[in-house]
């Protein structure tokens, strides 16, 4: 607990320090850079630094982790190990977001896989071993592909005869288009698996529904963002030619993910499955935004990552609270919870409304930005994808309202529910923290937008150069 409060505190300090630096006119791409030589003969460095994109991810991580710890306050079985693994996981996420060296980045990416396996396998529910194994293997397969992509990049860099893993240096040199076209799919699909890219999304529903509450929050809230961030920062930024080349395919896959995810969600009866499949759909927006390759759409993708992270963490937290009281997650068996659990039910509805993109919450801001950005692409193919993705919001509204309607409204279906108590202080605090994030972004998105914009500008410049060369 102390650890996570410190994390939040530090990330807020970094945020203010960042603002101060930017206000002071420091316009370099990354701030607070530090660079240590790690494996000198191979030119591997421990190189870290942040820009607006990584800072917003760090803030997201801090919010979700502290909420996760609060929610599992009453955890009893093997609690030392539980919190150790949770903090280990967050260390992996932080390290990943601040890395400017591809080796360090990959190190932290893999660091975050095994704790997930342990968290799901030991403290999970349902068919936990199966889900844990599936998740670990699929994520490892993802990182295996990323690994090949990174090695491909490394050996095609030339820095006075030596190779380099350094993100900034690679971005400054031009890598052959044919090389990019070979290794872009490796990197993008590899990171895409983390971010539930269709058709590699199958670990998401199983993993999320079997995981304990805090782990689900972490998985959906942060872990899936590792993938989105990697697609943006490594695949798209470092291989812009190939990004243009493969952009129609990315758009196609992410549109399928959005629509397919939404329709599958409609058929689900278990609250955790509903949220897991809707995460597939929502992460589709992230990849769609990246695939569209316009500045607004990429901004939207980053906004969507933050927004979805907070929203889905809140959702899983609430589902965990409901489950711990009613011992069921099936919407049919729930009902009338608003009467007995006013606080939890209200939070549930708020999370739902954010998920379907109601103005005033962060989901609306993010999705609108993605759509506007996508529409900037004049090509018919992209227009079509945008229209289809927009249409999926209707489906989202159907399943969210239906779930909220059956679970929260209506008569009380089970007499046993009359004796349950509403949220405890720790749960109220966790929900409060996440809702604050959602509402602040929803009502005043500009500060986050200003944070992200300089970072994406570099990516866009890079993409523009690539287009000009074509």
């Amino acid at each position: 607990m102390i650890g996570t409060t410190l994390q939040l505190f530090f990330s807020l300090i970094i945020l203010f320090a960042y603002w101060k630096e930017r206000a002071a006119g420091n316009s370099s791409q990354f701030l607070f850079e530090s660079d240590y030589s790690w494996f000198e003969p191979l030119h591997i460095h421990y190189h870290i630094g942040i820009d607006g994109i990584s800072l917003s991810m760090i803030l997201l991580t801090a919010f979700v982790v502290i909420a996760g710890v609060l929610v599992s306050w009453t955890q009893e079985v093997l609690n030392k190990e539980f919190f150790f693994l949770l903090l280990f996981l967050s260390a992996g996420a932080y390290g990943y977001f601040i890395s400017l060296d591809l080796f360090t980045l990959f190190f932290f990416l893999e660091l975050a896989v095994i704790p997930k396996f342990m968290l799901i396998g030991i403290w999970g529910s349902g068919k936990k071993e199966y889900s844990a194994m599936k998740l670990a293997l699929m994520l490892m397969a993802g990182s295996a592909l990323v690994f090949v992509g990174l090695l491909g990049l490394y050996f095609n860099t030339n820095l006075n005869g030596a190779h380099s893993f350094d993100l900034i240096r690679i971005s400054q040199m031009h890598i052959d288009t044919s090389v990019q076209n070979v290794f872009f799919p490796f990197a993008f699909i590899g990171f895409g698996i983390f971010s539930a890219l269709f058709p590699f999304h199958t670990w998401v529903p199983d993993g999320h529904s079997s995981a304990p509450t805090a782990a689900s929050m972490f998985l959906a809230g942060i872990s899936m963002k590792l993938g989105g961030y990697g697609c943006l920062r490594v695949a798209t930024y470092l291989m812009p030619d190939a990004a243009h080349h493969y952009s129609p395919v990315i758009v196609l896959l992410s549109t399928i993910a959005i629509i397919y995810g939404a329709f599958v969600t409609m058929m689900q009866k278990d609250l955790k499955y509903i949220n897991a499949y809707s995460s597939v759909s929502h992460c589709g927006f992230v990849l769609l935004g990246i695939g569209m390759l316009t500045q607004t759409s990429i901004n939207g993708a980053v906004l969507q990552m933050v927004s979805h992270g907070l929203m889905t963490a809140l959702f899983f937290a609430v589902i965990g609270m409901i489950y711990s009281r009613t011992h069921t997650r099936l919407t049919k068996q729930l009902g009338g919870l608003l009467k007995v659990l006013p606080f939890i039910s209200t939070v549930f509805v708020i999370a739902g409304l954010c998920s379907l993109g109601l103005p005033g919450f962060s989901g609306f801001v993010a999705e609108v930005t993605v759509f506007v950005g996508s529409w900037e692409n004049p090509d018919l193919w992209y227009r079509l994808a945008t229209i289809l993705a927009c249409a999926s919001i209707v489906v989202t509204a159907v399943y969210i309202l239906r779930a909220a309607g059956t679970a929260v409204m209506g008569p009380i279906t089970n007499n046993h529910y009359n004796h349950i108590t509403d949220a405890a202080w720790n749960e109220r605090l966790a929900a409060g923290i996440l809702i604050t994030g959602i509402v602040v972004i929803g009502v005043a998105p500009f500060w986050l937008f200003h944070l992200i914009n300089p970072g994406t500008e570099y990516i866009i410049q890079h993409l523009g150069k690539a287009l000009a060369l074509k």
């Binding site: 030589s37 790690w38 494996f39 000198e40 003969p41 191979l42 591997i44 080796f103 190190f107 932290f108 893999e110 660091l111 896989v113 095994i114 396996f117 342990m118 396998g121 030991i122 936990k128 071993e129 844990a132 194994m133 670990a136 293997l137 490892m140 397969a141 295996a144 592909l145 690994f147 090949v148 090695l151 491909g152 490394y154 050996f155 070979v182 490796f186």
Partner: protein, 472 residues
């Protein structure tokens, strides 16, 4: 130059082992009833001194008309082997405590170590063969050291037959090489090899012989049975020290004598490593005996090492030596726990490890960390080892091989995680009881875990090895 002093300094590691051997022989001959505890402690201290002494007085040079050569890298390789032997000696404490033939065990063990030292230092194929035989014949006796167990003698028999067969192949290859070139000196050979059919044939024979020794697929069939039948200590010795030493020599021979055949052996190693990884992994999935399981997993590891050898650059040879060091720590960590469980409770199946965490949390973590390191999961050293091996291989520009290897890492993760799952997640009515671990195996496991955690993150170890390595 003073020949006598050179002679002492260059061969210092061999001298150290020989001195220890003589001390042990002397004890054996002089006293009738020895107290096991004292002997074990004495041996452990002597071996520790041996490891420490290895780091001093490094000097490059050749002796006896290039029969014996040494340089910084070779000394480091020998140090890795001495360190591994020290860890194994510590681990065998509970198993040997009540054994009557304790001195014979160590005499045999150190004889094989001496053989390996000569083998690594060989500058001549004949010398190499001599060292190899010196190391493999006592190993067969060691494999039979569980004197009452029938499986143990079966293992020894299989081992002696297969190793005699592979030695035969090697010897035929060596004699053909001599017949076509007129020399056996490694450094001179490369000038005389010009690719005549007979030379290629000799080369293939040599590669097959080496393939047997490092148990690369399709020459691996003896491995699992021998590993299962031998006592755990001997199994760990076979899978780490014996295999590691042959890998060092294999690399040296390919890089020096056969460097003109690089295209040929690159393709051969490509096929061998893919086969080794795939078959090792697929068989490991189906094992239930944990020793057999580790045997197949160590076969798969050899596949990765072969990729590092194909790198054939300075980074390639550095990554191989570095990986063998890490592999020593990880595999001995895993075998250490398995050996303790087997020595105290006699149980050797993966199913027996179910709910192991409830009774033995610390040992469970040690085993899990070792397995993660074998699987190549950060922040353990195994991650760095595998990363650099594959990176060295990727330097050749063959990404098909790297992709296959990377996907094989996922397969291998599956079966390592299966064991982890058994330890942490599966319920069990009758788990292994709480084990009381005596100080010396505890020290061994401590060394292993420290090695696993630190050799990766502290880049100095890699840089040190890299600075001494030589590519083609």
């Amino acid at each position: 130059m003073n020949m006598g002093i050179d002679f002492l300094i260059l061969m210092k590691q061999e001298w150290a082992v020989i001195i220890i051997l003589f001390i042990l022989l002397f004890i054996k001959v002089s006293s009738k009833d020895q107290a096991n505890e004292y002997i074990l402690k004495l041996v452990n201290i002597l071996l520790l001194l041996n490891v420490i002494a290895g780091f001093f007085g490094l000097k490059d040079g050749v002796l006896f008309n290039e029969m014996f050569k040494t340089n910084h890298l070779i000394v480091t390789e020998k140090n890795i082997l001495s360190l591994g032997t020290y860890i194994i000696a510590l681990q065998s404490y509970p198993w040997l405590k009540n054994n009557k033939h304790i001195l014979e065990f160590y005499i045999l063990l150190l004889t094989t170590l001496l053989g390996m030292f000569f083998m690594i230092s060989a500058g001549n194929l004949l010398m190499f063969y001599l060292g190899l035989e010196l190391s493999s014949i006592p190993l067969a006796a060691l494999a039979n050291f569980d004197l009452e167990k029938r499986k143990s003698s079966e293992a020894a028999f299989k081992f002696i037959i297969s190793s005699a067969f592979s030695s035969g192949l090697l010897l035929l290859g060596i004699s053909l090489v001599y017949g076509t070139t007129g020399t056996l000196t490694l450094s001179a050979l490369s000038d005389h090899l010009y690719g005549s059919p007979l030379q290629i044939f000799a080369f293939i024979l040599l590669i097959s012989g080496f393939g047997f020794k490092i148990s690369a697929v399709p020459f691996h069939l003896w491995t699992a049975d021998v590993y299962e039948g031998s006592p755990v200590t001997v199994t760990s010795y076979l899978s780490v020290i014996s295999k590691g030493s042959v890998i060092f020599v294999f690399m040296t021979v390919l890089y020096t004598a056969f460097k003109s055949y690089i295209i040929t052996w690159y393709n051969i190693l490509f096929v061998l490593s893919v086969l080794t990884m795939v078959v090792g992994n697929l068989f490991a999935i189906r094992q239930n005996n944990i020793k057999r399981f580790l045997a197949f997993s160590s076969i798969a590891q050899v596949g990765f090492i072969l990729i590092g050898i194909t790198g054939s650059s300075q980074a390639g040879s550095a990554s191989v030596v570095y990986f063998v060091l890490i592999y020593t720590f990880s595999n001995l960590g895993a075998f250490g726990v398995v050996g303790l469980v087997s020595a105290i409770s006699g149980r050797e199946n993966i199913d027996d490890y179910k709910a192991f965490y409830k009774t033995n949390p610390v040992l469970s973590w040690v085993l899990a960390i070792s397995l993660f390191s074998l699987a190549g999961i950060p922040p353990t050293a195994g991650f760095f080892g595998k990363f650099f091996l594959l990176m060295a291989g990727a330097g050749q520009g063959n990404y098909i091989l790297i992709t296959i290897a990377a996907l094989n890492m996922v397969v291998s993760l599956y079966y390592y995680l299966k064991v982890v799952k058994a330890i942490f997640m599966d319920p069990n009515e009758n788990p292994v009881k709480k084990l009381i671990v005596t100080p010396s195996p505890k020290l061994a496991l401590f060394i292993c875990v420290t090695g696993i955690v630190l050799t990766g993150i502290i880049s100095y170890v890699y840089e040190y090895i890299y600075s001494m390595s030589i590519g083609i």
